[in-house]
């Protein structure tokens, strides 16, 4: 079983693999692209780029704060600096460096966090990026992007390199269903409606988009028409699509593989409050550290499932 299966979607590569392949491809197009990693290139998948372009690659060792500031320095020499490690070590270990060496000077650093969420599984809480979106969103001027499948991840990787400025890109460890088999017209800040519906809107990103598709498939069997939006950009948030969904469907469920506070749910709630206030429900990790376990077992235990989304829809429909 995988998310998207009951909606007829095919299983594709992990988003970290799509990022790594795209990065290597884009190395030819962008001679000013440089990559900094911290002894985890074989996990983040910067490795293919590093092998293809050793002179433009820097493995600084297990030193995340150093990595981030080095990327800032490279960017201030006119490079497009990509730096990458596990999402939690990137955001939580090197936060002041992201703030002072990247965000404040508005430098062209793309920081990429892998191993997002609890679905990394057995390694457990110390390696799980569950607060990265909240932290990244709090950095002034930083764009925050969470693609949902391999196709949109490849497009997102190209998009962040094409645009100047500090950005955070979140990748995942496990395989994900392909939501865009025919390609993805990816624009930073512009969400994608994957399925239309009139009773409720499910807004999701990352691996939870495929789960949202499955929930919508289930709901349809019971006569509930659910719209599904892939909100791949958390900041700047697509307020227009949110207001439209609120107006047309009257209720919204926000789904993410992240903590309750400061993630997609908080950002969408702010937008809804500012535009067309409607009832909201949330599906996320809540306010806790998870534990070690198999990926699907963890998603089940911590309530990140199509069934949990269906329940949230029921709760918001009253």
């Amino acid at each position: 079983m995988y998310y998207g299966e009951i909606s007829g979607l095919k299983l594709g590569p992990a988003t970290r693999d799509a990022f790594g392949d795209a990065l290597k491809e884009l190395g030819a197009k962008h001679p000013e692209l440089v990559v900094v990693d911290a002894d985890v290139g074989n996990s983040t998948r910067t490795e293919p780029f590093m092998k293809a372009y050793p002179e433009r690659s820097f493995n600084v060792g297990i030193a995340e704060s150093n990595m981030v500031s080095v990327a800032g320095g490279l960017a201030s020499c006119g490079k497009i600096a990509v730096c990458s490690t596990f999402a939690t070590f990137l955001l939580s270990n090197a936060y002041d460096q992201l703030r002072m060496s990247v965000a404040f000077p508005k430098l062209n650093v793309k920081f990429v966090g892998s191993h997002a969420g609890i679905s990394i599984g057995e390694d457990g809480p110390s390696q799980m990026g569950i607060e990265d979106i909240a932290l990244a969103c709090a950095l002034p001027g930083v764009k925050v992007i969470v693609p949902s499948d391999a196709v949109s991840m490849a497009a997102a990787t190209a998009a962040i390199l094409a645009e100047h400025g500090p950005m955070y890109l979140r990748t995942g460890r496990g395989k994900t269903a392909t939501l865009y088999p025919n390609g993805c017209d990816f624009k930073i800040g512009k969400s994608i409606q994957l399925r239309d519906g009139s009773d409720v809107t499910i807004i999701a990103n990352g691996i939870m988009v495929a789960a949202a598709m499955d929930a919508a498939t289930e709901l349809a069997k019971n006569g509930v028409s659910a719209r599904v939006i892939d909100m791949h950009t958390v900041k700047p948030i697509d307020e227009e699509a949110i207001a439209k969904a609120a107006r047309e469907t009257g209720r919204i469920v926000i789904v993410e593989e992240h903590l309750m506070f400061g993630g997609l749910g908080s950002v969408v709630a702010t937008a809804v409050g500012r535009t067309v206030p409607v009832p909201l429900a949330y599906v996320n990790i809540g306010d806790c550290f998870a534990e070690s376990g198999d990926p699907q077992g963890l998603l089940d235990k911590y309530g990140l499932t199509p069934a949990a989304i269906v329940n949230a829809v029921k709760s918001v429909m009253g």
Binding site: G41, S92, E122, S292, G293
Partner: protein
């Protein structure tokens, strides 16, 4: 010392077998990172260097061991099982949903774990805090911290080294498990921090460089470290990643074998090799 080197060697062999069984059953984890640490951890837990009460894990007078390179926790679980904190059988639930034997040490869930680690670089600072706290409370004990050699890339390790030197915490010992590898390759290629001994010395530490996979040497080094009464102590423990099953790593063509469990077939071979 009550216990002989031969007895410790037998214990070390048991720990190695537990590590292999645990990680193969989990089908994930870091057996080679665990195996390099075994002689030092065996000496600490069973060589008379630490006093602890498995039935009363929070007893204030206890000596403490912090595994800063938390991914090697199968070695610690194996030692704690042999010490009587829980059964060896229980540790075979490593990394399973609901098990307290998580992939990295979690002191919130497991009594006897002295620090929650897994994000490299923090253990020595935590150990310094505990050394200062125990000194303040006039507890006559010792804090042992084990780091990796790749882990030394974290700047925080050197912040801790400098402040431990400043406060002359003689109840603190760091064991650097210098196994020559980190995740993406040999430490000499990724980030060569040698000479490690000179760096700790420069921060005011007593330093020994020893063969950390020799049981008698591990015991001798810890004896000296505990006897130093005017400054913190560092043992650069030169080891081999995967020590005990090196022929298997050779045959597999990967002397690092980082973060990979042995397949059931390889585990069989490894257990036979250990004897």
């Amino acid at each position: 010392m009550a216990v002989s080197i031969e007895e410790l060697q037998a214990k070390a062999k048991l720990l190695r077998k537990h590590i292999i069984r645990m990680t193969t059953a989990a089908a994930s984890g870091h057996p080679t990172s665990s195996l390099s640490t075994v002689e030092m951890i065996t000496a600490l837990f069973f060589g008379g260097f630490m006093t602890y009460r498995p039935q009363e894990p929070h007893w204030p007078g206890r000596d403490r061991f912090i595994l800063s390179k938390g991914h090697a926790v199968p070695a610690l679980y194996a030692a704690m099982a042999e010490a009587g904190y829980f059964t060896v059988e229980a540790t075979m639930s490593l990394r399973k949903l609901g098990s307290i034997f998580e992939g990295h040490p979690n002191m919130a869930r497991m009594p006897g774990i002295e620090a929650s680690t897994g994000s490299l670089g923090q253990g020595l600072s935590i150990g310094l805090g505990q050394a200062l706290g125990c000194r303040l409370d006039k507890i006559d004990n010792h804090i042992f911290v084990m780091t990796g050699d790749g882990e030394l890339g974290e700047g925080q390790v050197w912040e801790a080294a400098a402040s431990a030197g400043k406060y002359k915490v003689s109840n603190l010992t760091v064991i650097v498990d210098q196994n020559g590898y980190q995740q993406t390759g040999a430490t000499k290629d990724v980030l060569d921090l040698r000479p490690v001994a000179d760096k700790f010395e420069a921060f005011g530490w007593h330093v020994q460089t020893v063969n950390g996979n020799c049981q008698a040497t591990a015991v001798a080094a810890l004896t000296i470290a505990k006897s130093i009464k005017d400054r913190p102590s560092c043992i650069v423990s030169q080891t081999q990643k995967g020590f005990g099953i090196l022929p298997i790593l050779e045959a597999e063509g990967d002397m690092n074998y980082h973060g990979k469990p042995l397949s059931p077939a390889l585990a069989e071979k490894a257990l036979a090799l250990l004897g």
